[in-house]
Amino acid sequence: MQATSHPPRKARSFPTHLLVFLAPAVIVYTLFMVLPLIDSLRLSFFTTTPDNKEVLNGLQNYVTLFTDSLWAPFFQNALGNNIKFFIIHMVVQNSIGLLLAALLVSKGRLRGTYRTLIFMPTVLSVVIIGFIWNLILSPLWGVTDGALKAIGLGKLYQPWLGLESTALTTLSLISVWQFVGIPMMLFYTSLIGIPEELLEAARVDGASSWNVFWRVKFPLILPTVGIVSILTFVGNFNAFDLIYTIKGALAGPNFASDIMGTFFYRTFFGFQLQLGSPTMGATVATMMFLIILTGVLIYMFVWQRRVTTYEL
């Protein structure tokens, strides 16, 4: 359409203004995003000698990361924890988000208010959220303890953030609490896009609202399910702030809450007795890149091809 409406321009004036419009974005993006990323990937094949020279190291950094007894257990631990972190988000955050969105759709006048209020924690900094929950769950303040006692469940209380067995799950749930607004909004947007006639037709046929939701609405919003999943995946495998705020770079207790982001940070900057290493840091970052890339490619080439998008 564009070609037919403005045929002469293409020939008339290619370079200068096009360059002026495009160059700033392409240059800044290339210089500060693409090149550093490529530089990081490149560095993962190098190592630093004691006199601070970079020498080619082949795949040795990766071999170290996967097999060295000082690295491999930490890498596997961080990766495993990160997968758990992701699964909890997928199951808890996205189901609650879907439920809230489904309820919001029918709730007329008040839905704007609910939506705004439920979304509020999402706009706050992860640092603030982390500290808030750290205080609330703290045995020192005793707020959670007190609240549980008040409803007769006092025995349930434990310092969840401090226990090796519960720290990661607790942190994941804090993150779920903060970000549930995002899947809620995305699901809500796609649910209100479904034409009323379609739903009416199903209701006339006698379908219950449960059936209408799962048989009619849900298949129609499958593309959004995919978007929510990939956003969750990328966000989770890139997470850092919450764990760092609550548990510090050591992601304690005993690395029980260590995920790829905190592992990357420690590797790059060092901690306690271990010196930071840019090249090993780059290796961890490259692994994160490959994980995220795999997720994105699966989403683009498997999910998006399989799922039928209905034009609504």
Partner: protein, 286 residues
């Protein structure tokens, strides 16, 4: 729609009762979302005894105290942090919108060789997080002497914000009718003038994208921690994080600084929540 819907559904009374359940769930969840925030704000105005003695009660004449705020104002340079955040977020946002609008205009307006390729190249950054290039970014900033310099942060945030901005704005600019631009061209307007003509037409989209790229920049901990950890260049998020780490046992100060860090964002959010929701919706079209 309303009339047909009515005839198919149970009586209004039953419908009203039936809709009570969803309301209950929504109200409960709203409370779950707000309660922790309210608890912190409420307790920040209480004395230490009040915080520990009756955490769930609002401040009373006996427990009211602003001692936490006094500590925060005396000990932390929140003014500097706040200003730094304002500069970094403001400058980044302005430049993201300007540079992004220019690129989107080029991509939506002109047919040229490589258009689709450049669009694809720029949109890769939507899914690949910029943090993965941190090692390279820090090395570059060291060599450019931009560590502990707000400019370094601004440049990184522009690169971070551009991909999604361009992706969304290009779609909006495609919808601007061609007749308008052609009429201007016939009147002899330059391409730059046409750009200035188009930008106001996509203002709602600019607003939405603005709010929604601003939040992650304001809230970011990673890049301030790595690129600008100095006290003079700390942003509010980093400043709060460091302050809280130091004053961890001073509950009054901790609660007050959390409140101070939250309130501006909550106020801005209340004002701009519609733009934000629109931004999220627009971002979801992809």
């Amino acid at each position: 729609m309303a009339t047909t819907a009515h005839s198919l559904h149970p009586s209004p009374l039953r419908r009203r009762l039936g809709s009570l359940g969803p309301h209950l769930i929504l109200i409960s969840y709203t409370l779950i979302a707000l309660f922790p925030i309210i608890l912190i704000v409420m307790n920040s105005f209480k004395s230490r005894a009040g915080i520990f003695g009756a955490p769930f009660q609002p401040p009373s004449a006996e427990t009211f105290s602003t001692v936490g705020y006094d500590t925060v104002f005396a000990r932390a340079s929140f003014g500097t942090y706040f200003l730094n955040s304002l500069i970094v977020t403001g400058m980044s946002l302005m430049l993201i919108l300007l540079i992004g609008a220019m690129a989107s205009f080029a991509l939506s307006e002109y047919k040229f060789k490589g258009n689709a390729l450049i669009a694809l190249y720029l949109s890769m950054g939507i899914m690949i997080p910029i943090r993965l290039g941190t090692v390279g970014i820090l090395r570059m900033m060291v060599s450019l002497n931009l560590v502990n310099n707000l400019l370094g942060l601004i440049l990184v945030y522009i690169a971070q914000g551009l991909p999604l901005t361009i992706f969304i704005l290009t779609q909006f600019m495609r919808q601007v009718p061609g007749e308008l631009k052609d009429a201007a061209r016939i009147d002899g307007a330059s391409e730059y003038r046409i750009f200035r003509l188009v930008v106001p037409l996509v203002r709602p989209a600019l607003g939405a994208i603005g709010v929604f790229t601003m939040i992650p920049i304001w809230n970011d901990l990673w890049f301030p921690l790595i690129l600008a950890p100095g006290d003079k260049t700390a942003t509010i998020t980093l400043g709060v994080q460091q302050f809280l780490g130091q004053f961890v046992s001073d509950w009054n100060a901790v609660l007050s600084s959390l409140t101070l860090a939250m309130v501006p964002i909550i106020i801005l959010y209340m004002i701009f929540s519609r733009q934000l929701m629109r931004g999220i919706t627009a971002g979801a079209i992809k």
